[in-house]
Amino acid sequence: MDIIYTIWLRNIKRYLRSKSRMIGSLGMPVFFLLVLGFGLNSVVRIPRMEQGYTGFIIPGIVSMSVLFTSVFSGIQIIWDKQFGFLKETLVAPVSRIEIMIGQTVGGATAALIQGFIIIIVSLLMGLHIPSIHGFFIAVLFMILIGLSFTALGIAIASRMEDMHGFQLIMNFVIFPIFGLSGALFPIDSLPSWLKFLPRLDPLTYGVEGIRYGLLGTSQMAPLISFSVLVGFMVLMVTVGAFLFRKISI
């Protein structure tokens, strides 16, 4: 536990100190929220959606923020590899699993904070959370998304030599995950032959879970979302830990 806490502490210190990263990664979500939320609110009508399109995409944007921050946090261990700090941790008498879990929890924490900031912005835009109960459900899903995708980032970073592949990962892995997730559109509105796609995307379950928590309605049963996401999280942490164990420097 001590070791996980130590690694977590370092991650959080670094996160809280890099103001530019914190503000920079808020840029796109806030932009989406304002432009799409206000811009499309009067045009788009979603059935059974009292809070309008703005209300509909808020959970989507929260997940987006958590997703991007966590993947980035995970991939950051490439910097540690390049700047040599990873050696310092790998040569210590601690197991790699502990290091990996510390990194994952650290990244997820940073992602959770980013998500909270979006929720605060949303409250200012008029979001009403139905109950305190619902808020905690949303937090639970945010944590699950954060853990899963930080672990995914670590898995990717373990196989990468440097940051050159980062754009590739963003464009061909992370954006599709976000785009297909139903963050911006109701998944049932897709033509029937495409409906399976969002269901293959793990983030869909996260978005739906957060939507259930923050708005009280969702297209997917919350228990299903929860089970699928927990499964995905366990899978990602396992894969991440496995690949991280094989890092050689």
């Binding site: 001590d2 070791i3 806490y5 130590t6 502490l9 370092r10 210190k13 670094r14 100190r17 890099s18 700047f83 040599g84 700090f85 990873l86 050696k87 310092e88 941790t89 790998l90 040569v91 210590a92 008498p93 601690v94 050689s248 420097i249």
Partner: protein, 328 residues
């Protein structure tokens, strides 16, 4: 008692043999130098001894613990300063130390005092709350040394500790290393390609070339073997000069390198007139001539027939091969 025992340690990357069946023993309290050009395999040896890299074959023990079977015990016994920096630049000096202390599970009340004590030892007390990104190269090295000492290791690995530092800082660092060795009774194993560094610091030196140890002894003994003096001659016709000098009975050894001739001999002061005379008789022009006491550089030349600088030129090709082999 031996601090480190290495037996036929070998590391292969596909066809390339980075470390070739190396064996040596380091006694407790020694400062042991692994001396050789870049790419000779020094860092690979250190990586294997510190359990970061698995040997292809052979074994070693550090502080009596096997690097193959008892990795955690080895890790607790060693402190290490890597060739490349391994600090977190976004943290302060104190925080870097604290992180290390927690990783090595040093109890809280003890941790703070030790950090303060060690920062004082390396002269960084005033900068303890400064961010590492504002530190100079020498300060970073000193901080890394202090950090490596925090968990009271029995053996300290220093991989090229003064690489890229200015002469004054190097001198300071050498003093710190000697102080550590004496005051804390820590066995130190350092790698370097600076001959003067090995000469100044080490009680024993192993000269490594292309993954093999080619000579191992105290610096004094290694230099004695070469002979009393070294004469270096620059000439426009070194081949001709070499063939003439080779015939002389008092020439112990003669090497050609970098367009120079190096001769090992006794009483160079007396012989130098003979050399000049001989070359004048044969009409060979001498551009310059110098006498010096043997250094470890001459020892390296003696054993390999090349200077360390010539070696460095090959080094880039070799590194490229290693990298290619690793990628596969």
């Amino acid at each position: 008692m031996e601090a480190i025992q290495v037996e036929k340690l070998t590391k292969k990357y596909n066809e390339l043999i980075a470390v070739d069946a190396v064996s040596f023993t380091i006694e407790k309290g020694e400062i042991f130098g692994l001396l050789g050009p870049n790419g000779a395999g020094k860092t690979t040896i250190i990586s294997m001894l510190s359990t970061l890299l698995k040997p292809t074959s052979g074994t070693a023990s550090v502080n009596q613990f096997s690097i193959l079977e008892n990795q955690d015990a080895v890790r607790k016994s060693i402190g290490i300063v890597f060739q490349d920096q391994s600090l977190d630049e976004e943290l302060t000096a104190y925080e870097n130390m604290d992180f290390h202390g927690r990783l090595y599970r040093i109890p809280k009340d003890n941790r703070h005092n030790k950090i303060i004590e060690l920062l004082k030892l390396v002269g960084l007390t005033e900068r303890k709350d400064g961010f590492v990104k504002t530190f100079s190269g020498g300060m970073r090295r000193r901080l890394e040394m202090a950090r490596g000492l925090l968990h009271e290791p029995k053996v300290m690995f220093l991989d090229e500790p003064t690489l890229g530092l200015d002469p004054q800082t190097r001198n300071h660092l050498w003093q710190y290393i000697e102080k550590l060795n004496k005051e804390k009774e820590i066995t130190i194993i350092l790698t370097t390609h600076y001959m003067d560094e090995a000469d100044r610091l080490c009680s024993k030196v192993a000269i490594i070339d292309k993954g093999k140890i080619i000579a191992m002894d105290t610096p004094e003994k290694l230099k004695e073997e070469i002979g009393a003096d070294v004469v270096t001659i620059a000439s426009s016709d070194i081949d001709e000069l070499q063939s003439k000098l080779e015939l002389l009975s008092w020439v112990k050894r003669i090497e050609k390198h970098d367009g120079l001739i190096t001769i090992n001999l006794q009483n160079a002061e007396k012989r130098i007139a003979e050399i000049v005379h001989l070359s004048a008789n044969h009409g060979i022009a001498i551009n310059s001539i110098s006498i010096h006491k043997p250094t470890l550089e001459d020892v390296f030349l003696n054993f390999t027939g090349r200077t360390i600088r010539e070696e460095e030129a090959d080094h880039k090709d070799r590194m490229r091969m290693i990298r290619r082999a690793r990628r596969r």
